[in-house]
Symmetry: C2
Amino acid sequence: MEVALAAVAGRWTTLLLRELMHGPRSFSQLRAALPKLSAKVLSERLATLARADLVECERQKGFPSHAVYQLTPVGRTLRPLLIELYRTGDALLRERAAWGIRSVSGRG
Amino acid sequence: MEVALAAVAGRWTTLLLRELMHGPRSFSQLRAALPKLSAKVLSERLATLARADLVECERQKGFPSHAVYQLTPVGRTLRPLLIELYRTGDALLRERAAWGIRSVSGRG
DNA sequence: CCGTATCCCCTGCGATACTG
DNA sequence: CAGTATCGCAGGGGATACGG
């Protein structure tokens, strides 16, 4: 469980993976899909996911540069987990509509 | 997804929930089940889960004091998610046996 | 036995500015 | 456009000691 949790942990990772579940996406497409995610963090998350072999990167050299990211076969195995996260989160929200996102993991 | 993730986030939360899935447990039983989890963090996690109405606490006053924790109905709805986390983690480990737990969420 | 208070570290994240 | 460098902050978590 800890391994799977580590794979999807992080404020943006699930959203990023969900976006990539729809198909390959360029850096800028991801930025557009997740406007509040800074380039730095996006880059960090993608690098981390790539290191874990969950995501692959294809770079077109030239100008302007272009990079396309897509899930690896291993990355695609996360789909059921993401679906379950969505289902569960949805159910929790129905029970407790007032919850904030960080209300559970926070200390105070 | 973020909500569900927040609910199970934390290094020990999933293991704690899994333990409680088996039935009510006292503080010391939980400590025994998770020896590397300090009392402070255990208390923190339980308090957080209690605040989120995922776990309930029953205290016997007296000496020595005793407290019993159990899942609420809402908490029990997390079971499919935990199962999926287990399944996915297992699958990931089969693909990449060398992964460390923090290798995905870490920076470097 | 159950829990909390302190202290410290580590790391994820945000903002901004910069390079190729 | 893609990605990195720097700075700063917040908070989870470990060790330890203390309180109820």
